[in-house]
């Protein structure tokens, strides 16, 4: 087991290496002028285009560019982001908490809703409730994140005037910047509590509701489907039948034995779910004016800022690879039948 973990951990740098090669390689498909897009912002600077290309080595070949980047990265310098106009590491430090806050606030509802509805569907197999939930899940699965986000903005925010968009009201942002407000975590809800500022906590929470809801709707459908089928699997197994035959109350059987075992396949869903969530966050941050990592990366992609993109891809690669590793480990822990050599 330990062997396996070590081997898998060693694979992570390999994954990052491959990803960075892919990105730098793809950038080679462009001409130096195109690669200058992130460096030149206005028409007036076209006069100095050649000078800018030279300055940032945009006309160099693959190996030179990769070396320039890799050498800095090995020194711990991820480069300067043309999108946020500051070192990449600074931006990640500032923006990661925002995205984490969003992801965390959506995570628990996603799991709860998915598992709960999946269980209901399985226990009412082929009944009306099951069929209805099935349709709901398929609808949730068919809703593109951006459409969901637009509907929420229009109906709930625009129509009812509830909740909010952005991270905090502007007047509060000024207040916090000029007063004494310590940013412990970078997440406004937590910082609000830690500073004893209930108003900040509420305002921040208020602005998390809609984006988190959009995420929950889009992501939990998948969990629900998996939960339903694994629960059905479990309910069909001998030990459940035996338990039933023994006359134990049905509910107790379901929750105590089957339910726990049925959760195991849901854990494997964590990887794909995280992927879907990250994809969703990119779009949601754009629509809800929520300046996190996703918004930053989307802009970087649109403006061809290679340094930012590389950093983002590395970060996501790292998160995904570690998440998958954790899932595998968790799998062994909850299900002793599984062994990895």
């Amino acid at each position: 087991m330990l062997n396996y973990i070590i081997r898998r951990s060693l694979q992570i740098p390999m994954v990052l290496f491959v990803l960075s090669l892919i990105i730098v390689g793809l950038m080679q498909l462009l001409t130096p002028q195109q690669r200058a897009a992130a460096f030149v912002k206005s028409d007036k600077q076209i006069e100095h285009l050649d000078q800018i290309i030279k300055k940032y080595h945009l006309d160099e070949g693959f190996l030179v560019q990769y070396e320039l980047w890799a050498r800095e990265v090995l020194r711990g310098n991820l480069g300067f982001s043309r999108i946020s106009k500051e070192p990449v590491t600074t931006t990640i430090r500032k923006r990661l908490p925002a995205s984490m806050e969003l992801a965390l606030s959506a995570f628990i509802p996603i799991v709860l809703v998915g598992v709960w509805l999946g269980t209901i569907a399985a226990t009412h197999r082929d009944g009306i409730l099951d069929q209805a939930l099935r349709v709901v899940a398929i609808i949730g699965w068919s809703l593109p994140t951006f459409v969901m986000a637009i509907w929420l903005v229009a109906w709930v925010y625009g129509g009812l005037g509830w909740f909010g968009i952005g991270r905090l009201p502007n007047s509060m942002l000024i207040d916090l910047a000029t007063g004494h407000f310590h940013r412990y975590t970078g997440m406004y809800t937590l910082d609000g509590l830690l500073n004893g500022r209930w108003d900040v906590f509420f305002q921040a929470l208020k602005r998390l509701v809609l984006p988190a809801t959009a995420l929950v709707i889009v992501v939990s459908a998948g969990i629900m489907r998996v939960m339903r089928s694994s629960m059905l699997d479990e309910l069909g197994k001998d030990y459940v039948r035996t338990a039933r035959a023994k006359g134990l109350m049905q509910k107790a059987v379901i929750y105590k034995h089957a339910w726990r075992n049925a959760l195991i396949p849901v854990i494997t869903m964590a990887g794909p779910m995280l992927g879907r969530m990250i994809g969703g966050i990119v779009v949601i941050e754009l629509i809800f004016n929520f300046p996190g990592l996703g918004e930053w990366a989307a802009k970087a992609a649109l403006q061809l800022d290679m340094t930012t993109l590389l950093a983002f891809v590395m970060l996501i690669g790292l998160i995904m690879a570690s998440a998958n590793l954790l899932v595998d480990i968790a799998y062994v822990i909850v299900d002793p039948r599984i062994r990895y050599e």
Binding site: L19, G161, S229, V282, L286, A301, L302
Partner: protein
């Protein structure tokens, strides 16, 4: 004994248990009906939008390329006995995919007689964008699935057939790509390929093959282990022959069905990219872009009036969601039918 006889017996597909299960599923039928409607709308797009083609000035290149005069457009495009009807429905000129603009005003206009679904921001005809957009959707969906399937089959096939370190290497790459959020990956690739419909489709395909490769490989390994393959090997057939004669035909059927169910999600992803400004050029009939046109108008004009410009965002987003829903209903039913356990 001939190894062919050991193969599982084939009965006509319509009598198979799988199909029966599919047919009895009400959701499957709903999905199928919805899809058929989409196909019909896409096919009849020229006929449906003939009045717009005839009246809006910026539709002229399309009308001219169809070889029509302005007065005869509606008649020609709505009469199945005429050659132009079939030409327009089967292979319309490229210029017809540009949504005609009834003016240049950035403000949307509500539905009217000339523009039954209204005009979206920039005075683009919404009905036109949606009907012709259905054609674009099918085009994107099938082509992307086709290309990624081809790549997936080749790579998955190589991986499953050769095995060993090649298999190992390919599967690691597949793992990396599967783990990475698809939307982000496609975004990066398509920006680098450049803007345009073809570029985005290529990007989707470049990222989309991985799942198929993995599935195909797994299926091959399963088939390889079956008795009839062993028998064939015992009779001295060469590995290549076995692979193409026995293994591939056995594995490919399910893959084809499953892959075709991805058309919906591909179209949704493409729409998302188009919404972000990646994809078809402005004014090209494409649902994602129709929603993107609506962006500035979803909040209406004042407090509590998100429906002041309802037509600009409700029509396109509902159409897009229904399309995805149709495919997913179908896909869900198919998966159910193939694997009765779940």
């Amino acid at each position: 004994m001939n190894p062919q006889d050991m193969k599982p017996k084939h009965e006509p597909w319509y009598r198979s248990k799988t199909f029966k299960r599919f047919r009895r599923n009400p959701l499957a039928i709903t999905g199928t009906v919805m899809l058929i409607i989409f196909v019909v709308v896409a096919f009849l797009a020229p006929a449906i939008t003939a009045p717009q083609l005839a009246t809006i000035r910026s539709a002229r290149p399309c009308v001219r390329n169809l070889g029509l005069k302005r007065g005869e457009v509606v008649q020609a495009l709505r009469n199945p006995l005429k050659l132009t009807f079939w030409r327009a429905a089967i292979k319309p000129p490229k210029s017809c995919y540009n949504i005609p603009r009834a003016g240049y005003s950035p403000l949307p206009k509500p539905p009217s007689k000339e523009h039954p679904f209204g005009l979206t921001s920039g005075s683009y005809d919404i009905l036109y964008g949606l009907t012709w957009g259905a054609r674009t959707a099918f085009y994107i969906g099938f082509l992307v699935v086709g290309i990624s399937l081809a790549i997936g089959i080749v790579i998955g096939g190589v991986s499953g057939f050769l095995g060993g370190w090649v298999d190992n290497l390919i599967m690691r790459v597949v793992d990396v790509m599967l783990a990475f959020p698809r939307l982000v990956f496609v975004m990066i690739v398509s920006v680098i390929f450049g803007s345009g419909l073809t570029q985005v489709m290529l990007a989707l395909a470049v990222v989309g093959w991985v799942g198929y490769a993995r599935f195909f490989r797994g299926d091959i390994l399963k088939t390889k282990a079956q008795d009839f393959v062993d028998a064939a090997r015992a009779l001295g057939s060469s590995p290549t022959r076995i692979f193409f004669k026995h293994v591939v035909p056995n594995s490919i059927g399910t893959l084809l069905i499953l892959a075709s169910m991805d058309v919906g999600s591909i179209v949704l992803t493409a729409a998302g990219l188009s919404f972000l400004g990646l994809g078809a050029p402005v004014g090209y009939a494409d649902w994602g872009q129709m929603i993107s046109f609506a962006r500035g108008y979803i909040l209406g004009t004042a407090q509590g009036t998100p429906f002041d410009f309802w037509y600009v965002w409700i029509f396109p987003s509902v159409v897009l969601v229904l399309f995805g829903l149709a495919w997913n209903l179908l896909g869900d039913a198919v998966r159910d039918a193939l694997d009765p356990k779940s």
